[in-house]
Amino acid sequence: MRVFYLELKRILKTRLTWILLLASLAMTLLMAWLPTTFVEVDGLKGLAAVRRLKDLQADTAGEVTPGKLEEALAAYQQCLKEYGAETVGGLPDDVRTRRILPLTGVLHGVNEVYADPDTGIGRGLPNIDPAELDGYYDACRARLAALMRMEQKDHPAAQAEAARLYEKVETPYHFYPGFNSDAMDYQVLLGFVLTLFAAVIAAPVFSSDYQTGADDIQRCMRHGRFTLGAAKAGAVLLVCGAAFSVCMALYIVISDSLFGWETVKTSVQMLYSATMLADMTVFELQCFMAGTGLLSLLASVGLTVFLSARIRTTVAALAAALFSCVLPVFVYFTAPERAGLWLRSLIPSSGVAGIQAGMLYTMLDYDFLNVGAFALWLPKAMAAATALELPLFAAAGVWSYVRHRLR
């Protein structure tokens, strides 16, 4: 324990660690605030626009019942009819703001749910009969089934698994206006930046000792092998994990305070796809992203610790660690689909690797790992893999350090 404490103290005394921890804090504050600046409503920007949007959509807040949807769509179509417009683009700006904008939040998923089941092309809100919305949640299930038939044509197990997951989603959905999905994207980006910082902190943990020769001395000391190796791995995991947890918690608190704590009670289906498979509110999604992000970051640090124990120079260890962090992005864009999915589920940093290759967009998707009659939703596979990889890589790192010999 004393060795662990001293190692922790050593890492925290390193100038680079302090610079990166302060940078993490600054990035957190900046990235939590930035999404509010993207909101524009009725000539207003920033937090004033958020408040205006909340006011405009206040009447639609709460449970998204079929009746409420029916009423909203009827009002939407009535407005177009009154002004002889085929689309909202044909409406005067003030009319669009006063009469259409209050309805768009609650009608978020309607066009998607009533899309053509074969082509997936939406019919457009003016062309959907409000009476059809009476069976909105049945239509959601039907839409998901049609989507899965397209996405997982040869995998009935995946189709069944998707239906099973969606059955757990609480309906009717809830909608509370004001939250912006950019805030979720920025949370993901923050996780990625923190993972890169963690790689920089963790990469020298063993390799710098090899490079400077400090290892030669420490290795000859009573606790200089397993105890020191475990203390080093544990300390760097603790520092990086604690920094990530603090920054993520701070991000969520700031972001939700700016947008309003009631807004994050919104069902994720009212922010993203109406048939999204996760049974969560926005707040739960934020926490889930933070939790899986933490797991992914720790697994990435575990991998970095392992690389550091295997590589003899700090620069090479750092390069390898940073490459491992961005690897999921390369895999996402370059690997063949099936192999890409397996690789993404196995790479520790997949959970935090940017926007498209990361956990959030994987949750919005309908990708499954299919093995015969068994299908596993990719986000679950990624989370499970990182939970296994964390102790595996950390232990492999310590083992490699203990076994390290000059040849």
């Binding site: 710098s208 001395i217 000391m221 009573r222 606790h223 092998r225 000059l406």
Partner: protein, 366 residues
């Protein structure tokens, strides 16, 4: 030197082996190690017993490789190292508990102060927290580091850094202390203090110091081992070893103008300017005939030939230079130590031989 606890307490009483056969004997048994095409250590065998052991050899002789294998950070290709009869690989933590090591390159964390580093090392060595401060204070005083206790190591001079390295090696009062070039970077006063410290420390411990600064071990080494090209070529007490060059060390006083010829044709160990424009030369020669050859080639007049060569009593440095002639022949850049250049009080300036220019060590033996 004050002790924190008896050395026996470093060994787990429940683990048999070392404590039962307590002899403090490190047996190096037919150790070999190669790197690519170079045989770094070639079938070395020796048994280290309590006392100071000097490991002499030129650069690349295999000293560091041998020490790393003794430290357990490098695996021998063949052979075995045993401590009190047990292979060090099987003793693991119990071996490291009684072991102190200072490598040639002293690596440390740049953010550490002397205090941070010694506390960190003490924890790794398993010193109880309550004894750590006292032990560190003792070592700081002993090694004149008290004034820089809170300074970052990276800001210290080379000699001070070396002393911090020595301090960490001594922290746990090791039974077996291995130091690779411990005096490099120390000034003459520090080297003398270090030698005295080590002499006292080694009374009932095994201490192995590698060096090519012969004077560092000449006065304190119980025994010496000499390595060349990876092989152990000589082993014995200083007195036993210097007998190997008995009759091969000569000295004479010559006119200064004859010096270049002496330097070209003989292995000059040391030069000293005399007050009358002459030079006292100490050199190595295989036989009396070879030693007198240059003198005999002159016309015999005292003012031209100088005084006739006479045998000098050999020293460990003479043996070293006899065994490693390249150290006298290729030292012009000053990167290797000089064989010995003295300053005569009356001469008022240094006379540096062309073959041994610019080094600072090893003087005083003309």
């Amino acid at each position: 030197m004050p002790c924190i606890r008896s050395r026996s307490s470093y060994v787990d009483e429940h683990e048999p082996g070392m404590e039962e056969n307590k002899k403090m004997e490190l047996q190096i048994d037919h150790i070999s190690k190669s790197f690519k095409d170079k045989r770094a250590v070639d079938d070395v065998s020796m048994t280290l017993t309590p006392g100071v052991w000097g490991l002499l050899g030129a650069n690349g002789a295999g000293k560091t490789t041998l020490m790393r294998m003794i430290a357990g950070i490098m695996e021998p290709e063949s052979g075995q190292i045993r401590y009190d009869g047990l292979p060090i690989g099987t003793l693991k933590g119990r071996y490291r508990e009684i072991f102190g090591y200072l490598p040639q390159e002293f690596g440390f964390y740049p953010e550490f102060t002397v205090k941070d580093y010694l506390e960190y090392a003490a924890a790794l060595k398993g010193l109880p927290a309550r004894d750590t401060k006292r032990r560190i204070r003792e070592l700081l005083e002993m090694l004149s580091l008290s004034d820089v206790y809170r300074k970052r190591i990276v800001r210290l001079s080379g000699g001070m850094k070396r002393r911090v390295g020595i301090a960490q090696a001594l922290l746990n009062e090791p039974e077996l202390l291995i130091m690779d070039e411990p005096t490099s970077g120390l000034d003459p006063g520090e080297r003398v203090r270090f030698r005295n410290l080590l002499s006292e420390f080694a009374k009932d411990r095994v201490v192995l110091i590698s060096t090519h600064i012969v004077s560092d071990v000449e006065y304190i080494a119980t025994r010496n081992a000499v390595m060349k090209d990876g092989r152990l070529i000589a082993e014995g007490t200083t007195e036993e070893l210097v007998k190997l060059v008995d009759g091969k060390v000569w000295q004479c006083v010559i006119p200064a103008e004859r010096l270049p010829e002496y330097e070209r044709r003989l292995r000059v160990v040391n030069l000293r300017n005399e007050a009358d424009g002459r030079v006292s030369v100490r050199y190595l020669a295989e036989s009396a005939k070879a030693a007198r050859k240059l003198y005999m080639e002159s016309d015999g007049a005292e003012e031209n030939a100088g005084a006739a060569p006479v045998p000098a009593s050999p020293r460990l440095e003479d043996l070293y230079l006899w065994l490693f002639p390249q150290d006298t022949a290729h030292d012009a850049a000053g990167t290797l130590r000089r064989p010995g250049t003295d300053r005569h009080p009356a001469a008022g300036h240094d006379r540096v031989s062309g073959s041994a220019r610019g080094a600072e060590n090893g003087g005083g033996n003309a």
